[in-house]
Amino acid sequence: MLLDSKIPEGPLAEKWEKHKFNVKLVNPANKRKYDVIVVGTGLAGSSAAASLAELGYNVKAFTYHDSPRRAHSIAAQGGINAAKNYQNDGDSVFRLFYDTVKGGDYRAREANVYRLAQVSVNIIDQCVAQGVPFAREYGGLLANRSFGGAQVSRTFYARGQTGQQLLLGAYSALSRQVAYGKVKLYTRSEMLDLVTVDGQARGIVTRHLITGEIETHAAHAVVLATGGYGNVFYLSTNAKYCNTTAAWRAHKKGAYFANPCFTQIHPTCIPVSGDYQSKLTLMSESLRNDGRVWVPKTVETAERLRKGEIKATDIAEGDRDYFLERKYPAFGNLVPRDVASRNAKQMCDEGRGVGTTGLAVYLDFAEIIQRIGADGVSQKYGNLFAMYEKITDEDPYKLPMRIYPAVHYTMGGLWVDYNLQTTIPGLYATGECNFSDHGANRLGASALMQGLADGYFVIPYTIGDYLAATAPKPVDTQHPAFAEAKAGVQARTEQLLAIKGTRTPDQFHKALGHVMWEYCGMARNAEGLRFAKTEIQRLRKEFWSDVRVAGTGEELNQTLEKAGRVADFIELGELMIDDALARNESCGGHFREEYQTPEGEALRDDENFAYVAAWEYQGENQPEKLNKEELTFENVKLTQRSYK
């Protein structure tokens, strides 16, 4: 199939306005005749469900949580970008667009990113109207901060819990539509397959997590807002339930998967402390504004630290290596996420890592504490220091923090066109679930912006266009396609229960995560990737013959849920390897060791790889087909990023 991104004609700044005029409208009486399924109730899902219901569509919203408010958007800390230029510091829609395209290392679509920057200003207004308590100045107006190395202050925030407040705003809008009867809410319902009829997305199959009942639901269009797949690595900053199943099931039904190898590894997370570790916790990026990153100069000193013979504070200034300041004198500790992460890994690979595991570097606040005092530091970072102490039992006012990179976000996802429609007509993907706006690396405070842009301001227009243009015929769950999909889900559930092997889903998940992290993590090379592929294929075989799930399918069975998710992660992991192998360049979060500058930085190949890799499923055990969407840049000049 030819990939048509459906980018509207005309100058960049006019595309969205023109497109909004050109889309077909559904008249108000007819909107009541259309049902839309929205899967996922995070920022992208709740905002879409509420906005579509307000327009008059009948919405069915699904979440596997007990409440829509638990979605992982709730955990976002830093803030949300918007090109308001309230600070009079030179921000504009074009600057936000430019920063995002450049930050993504020129692997995102210009038209989508420009639209994102345009609607960013509407998001803030919408959230304020809902009662989202953003930080304010003494004059009563909205406060901003700079974030993620941006040169302007365009980030709106609610202390260190912006995601929570934005999600509760979207959840309140959703709750209002539930009360009006325009949204039917299905909680504790996990999507396990997509139903297509005549090539169009017409419904889903779900499992009710409390009763185990397999249910089918029909609609005229389906929106997937099911988040990212960072948990393919087992350990990540994602919540434990975050998974790829809904997106992966859609992929196997015909939706292309774009740039799966583009994953973001965040440099400042609390390190792993043992084999039992179940997840990783982020320490906000803002800490690098004042903390200095270092390791001991010698392996011997690092070994003594790891054995507990000495403390960080025992090491003399001259025996420390402030490696970011040494290697990048211009940017120092403020280099972008991908660069900071790779360098920390390199230090640990050299044997100079700290902590008992040797997989950590120091983030030291001694200098700023001396300069402005512990009270001053507490005012800036108090909640983060407290959280660090709660988890590690170490006082960061006295000892430097130990940090290590961790998987945080996935830029890849379901391929979508300008309308956010996947390659299956009637199936849409929004938020982290799609691939669209961040290229090969996402900038800080941009994830919340994209989720809400898609849900509040894009989908309500583009779904109407699809429904008006195609006028899909009514279909109900009596159609044989629903029975077929349901039987497939039941058979898979029974298969997982019947294996009765010796290894738990978590054991397989950890093994997968280890392979992905070692060979498809911060640095990749062809040899390692090829080895990882055989490892994952072996793991997949072992999984389907040796996984152990207790209990039955007719009850709350968290092991069964986990097993199904791990099975899909294993398949996705293999595709990520294929994608990383096929992209013979380094860009953003994808660092291929064979492709680097003499200084060891990522070396892009714009001539051969300025494309979106969109993978097409070809059937069980068949290699997937690579389709390419060429990226054209008419408004920004492609440059080599340098932070020296």
């Binding site: 992982h72 955990a75 308001k84 107006l141 009360a179 152990r548 207790a550 709350l556």
Partner: protein, 261 residues
């Protein structure tokens, strides 16, 4: 083993865990032993160890709710040794670490106990009553689009900060579990206060408080007798002051509203 402390000693513990197959079957406390628990583990990682042991032994793992494991999603909800979220103040179960316990300890783990939160299985309870209370009025009635510029609504910083404090409720239900009456007043008051304080919430303040209270009563939560254990046990520090605001809003609405009977 330990990340920060190479000398941390592993612990052996006895767990008394509430097991209940489903909503309609009677439950009971079952004793389990867990060995070699690192003090660096979180409480839920300790339960992960128990569940992996049970699964290997061919037994049904203990069901419990959890997700973000960083104290913000509000999913985790264990009643540990008779306390909501266990012994440490201002901490959700997922952020409680085993270093707060000692080798040889016996730990009793129960689900939230409240009529309005029926048990799904083992330690997992149904908190959908909270969603229905929000649906009764915990919002500002604005549609997407057509709203004024964010800076057209000036809000004094102290008002914005107080609204924010109330808005940080994570809806875990610890307040209900801690209350001898199983009252949901702290949860309801947090949302009512946030929106009553902000100019955006004022047009609907009367109907909101009446509808949310009516739904709260309908769900079977108990009355408030001003003991304050809810605020004392709240993991995110929602203040008792919010209940005072809720009472004021409610009385004022009842005295002046002509919207409702």
């Amino acid at each position: 083993m330990a990340g920060s402390n190479p000398n941390a000693k592993p612990m052996n513990l006895t767990l008394n865990v509430w097991r209940q197959p489903n909503r309609t079957t009677e439950g009971k406390i079952v004793e389990y032993k867990v060995k070699d628990i690192s003090p660096e583990m979180s409480f839920l990682e300790m339960l992960d160890v128990l569940n992996e042991d049970l699964l290997h032994a061919g037994q049904d793992p203990v069901a419990f709710d959890h997700d973000c494991r960083e104290g913000i999603c509000g999913s985790c909800d264990l009643f540990i040794n008779g306390r909501s979220h266990g012994p440490e103040k201002g901490t959700t179960t997922c952020q409680l670490h085993m270093r707060k316990f000692s080798d040889g300890d016996t730990i009793t783990i129960e689900p939230w106990r409240a009529n309005a939160f029926p048990v799904n299985k083992d330690l997992s309870v149904d908190r959908s009553a909270f969603d229905r209370i929000i649906q009764a009025g915990g919002y500002v009635s604005v549609n997407t689009g057509g709203v004024p510029d964010g800076n057209e609504i000036a809000i004094p910083k102290d008002i914005a900060d107080r609204a924010f404090e109330a808005a940080t409720c994570i809806a875990c239900g610890a307040c209900v579990a801690a209350c001898k009456n199983a009252s949901a007043m702290l949860f309801v008051s947090a949302k009512v206060s946030q929106l009553a304080l902000l100019p955006q919430g004022k047009p609907e303040r009367k109907t909101r408080v009446e509808n949310m209270i009516a739904q709260m009563d309908k769900e079977g939560f108990g009355a408030c007798s001003n003991i304050g254990s809810c605020a004392a046990e709240c993991p995110v520090g929602i203040s008792l002051e919010n209940i005072a605001i809720l009472n004021r809003e409610y009385i004022s609405a009842k005295a002046t509203s002509n919207n409702l009977a």
